[in-house]
Symmetry: C3
Subunit: 266 residues, 3 copies
Amino acid sequence: MMQEQLWPLIQAVRAQAPLVQNITNFVVMNNTANALLAVGASPIMAHAHPEIPQMLAICQALVVNIGTLDDYWAEAMRLAAAEAQRLGKPWVLDPVGAGATPYRNELLTQLLPHRPTIIRGNASEILALAGLSATTKGVDSTVASTEALGAARALHAQTGATVCVSGAVDLVVRGTQVAYVANGSPLMTKVTGLGCSATAVLGAFAALNAPDAFAAAAAGVALFSVAGELAAAGAAGPGSLQVRLLDALSSLTEAEFMGRLQLTVS
Amino acid sequence: MMQEQLWPLIQAVRAQAPLVQNITNFVVMNNTANALLAVGASPIMAHAHPEIPQMLAICQALVVNIGTLDDYWAEAMRLAAAEAQRLGKPWVLDPVGAGATPYRNELLTQLLPHRPTIIRGNASEILALAGLSATTKGVDSTVASTEALGAARALHAQTGATVCVSGAVDLVVRGTQVAYVANGSPLMTKVTGLGCSATAVLGAFAALNAPDAFAAAAAGVALFSVAGELAAAGAAGPGSLQVRLLDALSSLTEAEFMGRLQLTVS
Amino acid sequence: MMQEQLWPLIQAVRAQAPLVQNITNFVVMNNTANALLAVGASPIMAHAHPEIPQMLAICQALVVNIGTLDDYWAEAMRLAAAEAQRLGKPWVLDPVGAGATPYRNELLTQLLPHRPTIIRGNASEILALAGLSATTKGVDSTVASTEALGAARALHAQTGATVCVSGAVDLVVRGTQVAYVANGSPLMTKVTGLGCSATAVLGAFAALNAPDAFAAAAAGVALFSVAGELAAAGAAGPGSLQVRLLDALSSLTEAEFMGRLQLTVS
């Protein structure tokens, strides 16, 4: 029963305090570092090309988020993803704005062959990313009509990644396995970068190198969405939500988590 | 009566949820994105040169804020402002630190000919910017002795922009039209980047392309200052104020707004 | 009695409102600017090479924090530190991640000869930095076995800086003078960049150019740790702590400060 697997994984992050390197966007650097600290992990933010290999060597996982790009940062992401693949370290990709510009698409096309462990995005980003990936295999047309679930499955098939799709209900997809997490709050869409924070948190769960990669990703998604829901209940608005979310990620108990968790696995 | 025009414009932003591209400074990226979300708009932060035209094409307005510059960012700002002008899209300029260094002044001199829709700054920035603008017309000496109101009028005459001057009383200036908004709180000066957030919010109001550009700018200024005043009343300090400001921008009602608004138009 | 010297120095910062230039990392720019505002100082964040000398000319102190580097930022730090030394302006160095990569170490080796007024880091950073400094003098082996106090003393001997070591108990070291500040809270380690904020605040105290440099650094360290302790008492988690810390830095009274201060000088 997957539901029973999640809390021990959340506890494992708190116990192991994995070090997670982040090459992420300017908007959310502070928030994602704080989200990692709140779940019990330790963030490192470092993007200088010469120090990427040494930083990654001391980390247990890498997070790459393409939100605010320029050529230097794009190259840092390519270098880090390649190094993570070479070292066999888990890494998480957040394809922010996939499909919006050729510049983003080109970078994503270069990153995917480094086989991210987890990909997390919203439905349109996952659809766009699967389209890119499919394009390189000449099956673009079939992707256009799929829902995000189909796109997530295609992405998994092409990259091996566990694919997480955020929304009113979050999906975690790995081949034929699908978990639906029906937690969260609409107020979460009114705070910038909560998706990016969820991605960073997934970095901590990827770092566990858990035997069941699907359950580990589901644990990260569920933790973030349950904490967000708890934080939103009683928040006076998006400003309060941000504050309360970090508090909730940090203090969430097993009873609170299990009491609120709305998980379906198919 | 202008007072009656403001709330419908605030509602229009909430209803239309305009997409606003921001090329802004590192200090305030998170806060300005959250301010835009709180007033009902959608922020995009993207500065990579190759993707500026595509990003702007899907946005309804652009915000350029020169707070933390380097050559790449300065060029991104020039490209974006030129593209906004070419596309006829409204754009807002925040001349942070105008007059402090030749490097800033040179960039501002290059940006002004692209005719920003709205310029927002504090009195010294507006005075410096009008001086630059005047210099290029050889009338530097007359500007040095004007108050911010005179400088704002001169800037409007030279660029066509509605000019907003923040302070204990905020001014909105467009030719002979002047609105005075006497809301806000001194505590707002103890939080970094609230002026930058006000500028970002003005991007959402510029995006409306309202028939009355003066009223639209006044609505943005008034919304921000009334929400700030409401947030400050009851804040334990600058930390609380930040949180409460986002809450207030998001939840402000017409009754709260009209009950507090201190607007004079001359 | 040093204890009596601290509050007047805290009041001096509030009264003089020094302008402090910051060349710091992306993660903490917003927070460090707000921390400076909260203690009564004024932050400037500017790193463009051409404007560094003019910005520094109008500031009373400089803060250099190497958290998120690339070549442009590293060069900005070298330029600014050299200019501060040339102008005789106090400057503060935060050697984030010292020892983690050769890239960081090389930059630090270049910065130290510009004789920072204050160096603040955690124990491992201070040990690493003293090791670098010692290496250049060929005494690397002796440093490896010293505690942070020994490393701090060595750093002072080599650079002239007052050295602050953050931890459960904070040290302020200047030759044979050592102050121990036993305030703070373990929850402070769960918020990203509070050490960076402490460093920024030290910039405001360095700006005083107080006759007693040791007491000025101790005042900054004590203010930050007492405010953090006050903020943590009653915080629901790391999110709340951040908000309450800015409030506390801003509103702290002499009675609260002296009532909580746990200072030992040897």
